[in-house]
Amino acid sequence: MSDLTIPSDGSEMSDLTLRESDVYAETPELHERIDRIGFWLVGGATVMFFFSFVFAYFYLRSLDSNGLWRPAGVDPPTAYGILIAAALALSALAFLYAARVARQRGRGWGLPSGVALLLGLFACVAQAVEYAHIPFGPQSGGYASVFFGWTVFYVVIALISLYRVEVAFAAALRARGEEDGAVPEGLTPAAVYWAFVAGLGVLSWIILYLV
């Protein structure tokens, strides 16, 4: 390997040298690593976002200002809560499974990611339906505020996160004809991230419906 100095204006010998190891090639491993670390950080940001709602929940509850934290009758229907949490959990499992088969066999991730997508969308729709059947409104005190704020933005974030699930599913559809349809890059990190978001959904269910 030859050492060569970067052509600067020529006056100055620099000891930051370039060697002819000149591999600038971007490997799939690099892309996977970028995705993985990126998702960790976005996950951290997501946690901080929901942390604000968790904080609001416990803080307002402890203050019970003017006795209006949670007037009688402000109870969301439990059946919806269970339905949503279960759909999210199953969706996450399906997508994790999809990532696993893709890693192991290089194909066959289409069906499970399709299932994951459907379940995820179903959870969001169920949440919307719940709003129509809920016995209280956003103006019914502290708990109601936290409930609406939290769930609405949870749905928004879940929909954004489902993007990578959809991408995996669409890639599978397009790869159907081809013999060795390429596994989309970063499937595993995406699956871990979706599982993480779904986990947050289950956590919201625990706090909002059970605690």
Partner: protein
């Protein structure tokens, strides 16, 4: 880099995904959202006649305006193609003339310059607001603007500065130079990088529209429940800060991932330029703090739009909730402004002192220490609020403790200057002034962190003086140091040295004469954000106002320098005008599209100045990490 100039006629080139269509679709989107909001509320569509405010309509207007803007710029193309099953690609719009600057471009150097110009523009607007505020304060009672407009000006100035300048150094300089400094060819997420810029611009434009909707009376802190009372104009504030928060979060993620994954072989953590340390510490704060701000603002939007009561104590909420969330973000925010300045100053000192950076490791410890500690001090903004009085000794201690890592930064600067061979070029002057200003800012901060002392000064002009010393004297001085230092690389043209020195001295002197008297005004009982003051304070206020106008004029000197050097004279800069050893100066100017034609391999840190050129006392990398 010099893209092929297309032969197509201009009108043909204007059609496509670019800023023009972003604006057009943004406006269309706004009216669509506005209309939709009125459908939901079944109210009149004409907003100039409507007296009954419809916040939902305005919020939807902003949401759809943003969507239209991003669609017009072409941000949806790639996600949609992937949702149709196409493969991942990397680059977009990297070739092709000036047009790149007005659209989604994935070249980090283009984004850096976009940021520089965009931020400069909004900084100018924020500065103009400051001039108007100072003009109003020439007399003890209102003379130019009414009380309401005055508050809007103060809020607009503060919000604009805080929101836009948070990316003031990371946006232009870290985007441009961090990849060059670590020997990378691109940022980890090039499209996201471009998105952060355009989000910021959309945010700035949205904040300006507050003027059409009556402004907002809350200052940059936007406390509840005043924000609930505020009229339409406050929705602009919400969207501005939420978009800034989003932009910051994404910027932070991008910076950190790039630094972790794309360093050149041999660039161990112990050799990372100190500016990159500053940038990624800032980035970490952005990732962890900005989402809290977004959440708090969305809660406000809910309180205003759909009648929740997060912050209404008479309906089960609490204003303290907002204060806690806001300052949980807000304190890291002020370090978001300070930390990049630390990085810039320590990065530039060695170049002009011709010595290695003294105490690299403790400098890193200082920067990281400040970043981490900044999450444990937020209640010092609430020392008289009645919140948690038993925790005050703790917050007093943690706040004062921040001066220990900050002191390390000073120590490194002092060590670097010791027996140095200092050359007074313009960037160096700004760096040295930084130490002076930041010392005053920091020392007054110790007064504010002391609870009894803070009881006297909280919410007064003393605080105003303190944070302008740290932000204007810290961040903005570092910002200018960076401009003078790096413009020769970014544009291939040097800024005029003599005009630069005149700019520096007017700015430095008028800055101090503007803000130092504010300490006295605060102690004498002048609260922030008031349009009236006792008439015995007029002489001092007039002095401050006049100095502020000189300070404003010094910015015009800078603009004159830019126009004179970059437009009129256009003297090409030498390839490495400062004799810097840092990697970014080893690339040709203009920097080629791919930055380096080969993978650089690093075998030292960038501070090997001085005689004798002792080898870096760092262990050589055990094995060159796998490339990339």
């Amino acid at each position: 880099m010099t893209g092929t100039v297309s032969a197509r006629p201009l009108w043909r080139r204007l059609i496509g995904f670019n800023l023009l269509w972003g604006i057009v679709l943004g406006i269309v989107g706004f009216y669509f959202g506005w209309w939709l909001g009125h459908q939901i509320h079944a109210e009149s569509l004409s907003f100039f006649e409507s007296t009954n405010q419809n916040d939902v309509a305005l919020m939807l207007g902003y949401v759809f305006a943003l969507v239209g803007f991003l669609v017009g710029l072409g941000f949806l193309n790639y996600p949609l193609s992937r949702m149709r099953g196409h493969r991942a690609t990397q680059a977009e719009k990297e070739e092709g003339g000036v047009g790149r600057y007005f659209t989604l471009c994935t070249d980090h150097k283009v984004v850096g310059i976009q940021y520089l110009v965009g931020i400069g523009f909004f900084f100018f607007i924020g500065g103009m607001n400051a001039m108007l505020i100072r003009a109003e304060l020439l007399r003890p009672s209102p003379q130019l603007f009414g009380a309401g407009n005055y508050l809007t000006l103060v809020g607009l100035h503060g919000t604009m500065m805080m929101g836009i300048m948070t990316s003031g150094i990371l946006g232009p300089f870290a985007n441009y130079f961090l990849p060059l400094m670590i020997g990378a060819r691109r940022m980890a997420f090039p499209r996201v990088e471009s998105l952060t810029f355009w989000l910021l611009m959309a945010a700035g434009a949205i904040l300006m529209t507050t003027l059409l909707f009556g402004g907002f009376p809350t200052g940059w802190t936007g406390y509840a429940p005043l924000n609930d009372e505020a009229n339409y104009g406050f929705d602009s504030y919400i969207f501005f800060f939420a978009l800034v928060g989003l932009s910051m979060t994404l910027l932070g993620v991008n910076m950190i991932v790039t630094t972790i994954t794309m360093r050149a072989p041999g660039l161990t953590w112990g050799r990372l330029p100190i500016f990159c340390w500053g940038a990624i510490s800032t980035a970490l704060l952005m990732v962890l703090a900005a989402p809290v701000l977004i959440a708090a603002l969305l809660m406000v939007a809910f309180d205003r739009g759909v009648q929740t009561s997060f912050f209404l104590s008479s309906a089960g909420g609490s204003p303290y909730l907002f204060q806690n969330l806001f300052w949980f973000f807000g304190h890291p925010e002020v370090y978001l402004l300070a930390l990049p300045g630390f990085g810039i100053v320590l990065e530039l000192l060695p170049v002009f002192a011709r010595k290695p950076l003294w105490g690299y490791r403790i400098a890193v410890a200082g920067i990281v220490g400040v970043a981490l500690l900044s999450f444990f001090v937020w209640q010092h903004h609430l020392f008289v609020s009645g919140l948690n009085s038993s925790l005050r000794p703790f917050y007093m201690f943690s706040t004062e403790a921040i001066s220990v890592p900050t002191g390390l930064i000073f120590l490194c600067g002092m060590g670097t200057l010791w027996r140095a061979k200092i050359r007074y070029r313009v960037p160096m002057l700004f760096c040295l002034a930084w130490f002076f200003n930041f010392f005053i800012g920091g020392a007054s901060g110790v007064f504010l962190s002391d609870v009894p002392s803070d009881v006297a000064t909280h919410g007064s002009f003393f605080v105003m003086a303190h944070f302008h010393y740290t932000i204007m004297g810290g961040l903005v001085f570092a910002f200018f140091a960076a401009i003078y230092y790096w413009v020769p690389k970014m544009f291939g043209i040097a800024l005029n040295e003599r005009l630069g020195k005149i700019h520096f001295w007017t700015m430095f002197i008028s800055f101090n004469s503007t803000f130092a008297p504010l300490f006295a005004l605060g102690l004498m009982g002048m609260p922030r954000r008031v349009v009236t003051y006792p008439s015995n304070l007029q002489p001092l206020n007039d002095w401050v106002s006049v100095s502020a106008f000189v300070l404003g004029a010094s910015m015009l000197l800078f603009l004159a320098n830019v126009v004179y050097s970059l437009v009129i004279v256009r003297k090409p800069a030498p390839a490495n005008p400062w004799d810097s050893h840092s990697l970014e100066w080893q690339t040709p100017t203009p920097v080629p599209l791919e930055n380096f034609d080969r993978q650089p391999v690093i075998d030292s840190d960038p501070y090997d100045y001085g005689v004798p050129p002792v080898p870096v006392p760092l262990p050589p990398p055990a094995e060159a990490p796998a490339p990339g």
